[in-house]
């Protein structure tokens, strides 16, 4: 029933967006120095830079949606490469939990995703954003944005 609601509320079936999609990028500054290299497409990026991705609490991820994000991307270091040993693993667990909350809310957990990227791999980060934008074309903008 929750999943039905998710689709009812957010799946606009590939209709053209009425505004540019907004993506909030939480990233540890080891994985990605800043989000400047992600700018320039037909979307808006809001970068949230952190010393380690694990400092993002559940509410920070939710508030990104309250602040108007259509999708939230969390960029963390590869497993075993976290400067704080388990930071990225903690982040993953928190993201998993918030995805469930987003499903319950009706926004849909699919709008929040975590990716491991090698330090400074801006091309990978850019591909992630482009993929997210493409998916947003299918999901539609967030009705809670």
């Amino acid at each position: 029933m929750v999943m039905e609601k998710v689709h009812r509320m957010s799946n606009k079936g590939g209709a053209a967006h009425t505004r540019k999609p907004r993506i909030t990028v939480f990233h540890c500054f080891t994985a990605l120095e800043d989000t400047a290299s992600l700018e320039g497409g037909d979307y808006e990026i809001q970068g949230i830079k952190m010393p380690c991705s694990s400092i993002s609490r559940e509410v920070f991820l939710l508030r990104a949606f309250e602040a108007g994000a259509d999708a939230v991307v969390v960029l963390v270091c590869p497993v075993n490469s976290c400067r704080y040993v388990q930071g990225n693993i903690r982040t993953e667990k928190r993201v998993t939990r918030v995805k469930k909350i987003l499903d319950e809310i009706g926004i849909g957990g699919h709008r929040l995703n975590m990716f491991n990227i090698v330090q400074g791999d801006e091309a990978a980060a850019r591909r992630i954003i482009e993929q997210t934008v493409a998916e947003l074309g299918e999901w539609g903008l967030s009705a809670a944005a």
Partner: protein, 222 residues
Amino acid sequence: MIVGEQKPLEEIKAKVSGYSRILILGCGTCVKTCFAGGEDEVATLASALRLSFKLEGRTIQIEEQTVERQCEDEFIKEAATNIAEVKAVVSLACGAGVQMVASRFPQVTLLPGVNTTFIGILEKAGLFTEKCLGCGNCIVDLFGGICPIGRCAKRLFHGPCGGSSKGKCEVNPDTDCAWQLIVDHAAATGQLDKLAEYVPPKDWRTSQAGGPRKVHREDHEI
């Protein structure tokens, strides 16, 4: 610690849906420790509710506050100003905290946001387990520090039942059979003979069976 779990979002949402402005009141002791009702959970629940109502085209004003403990006047009076401004309070305290706030502020509706479960421990990261039923007369020393009241589903005092299998409880195969633990501990520490001692029937009047209980400390009556 008192362990609890936050109620499902849908249940909390249904409870608050008749109100345009609410206070979510957290509790900074037990339920914070078990991640059910401290500052973080208050903030997360508030955000989730706002988003959920927004999807329905509704806005709901949510105040957030967490006090040290909802089971003491000293702390809940800090919330008086916020409580005065709402008709309903979602309390993320244990059942005792919710009722304390309800008794002090009878004009507001108290909505529990947490299901209070048990007196337990943090067994390992992410796993809280029940250990004590508050029977009011602790005798764990008779059983090597393993309580057959809190940890045996049948509260047996004289050995395992027929449902103990491979060290697990038939009521829940994820739960260790308390009596297996008791016997193993006694064997490992050379105290098996202690288990042969007769344990008299328990007087349950000191437990919940005796009705709501009180502890009166005259020396702190000021």
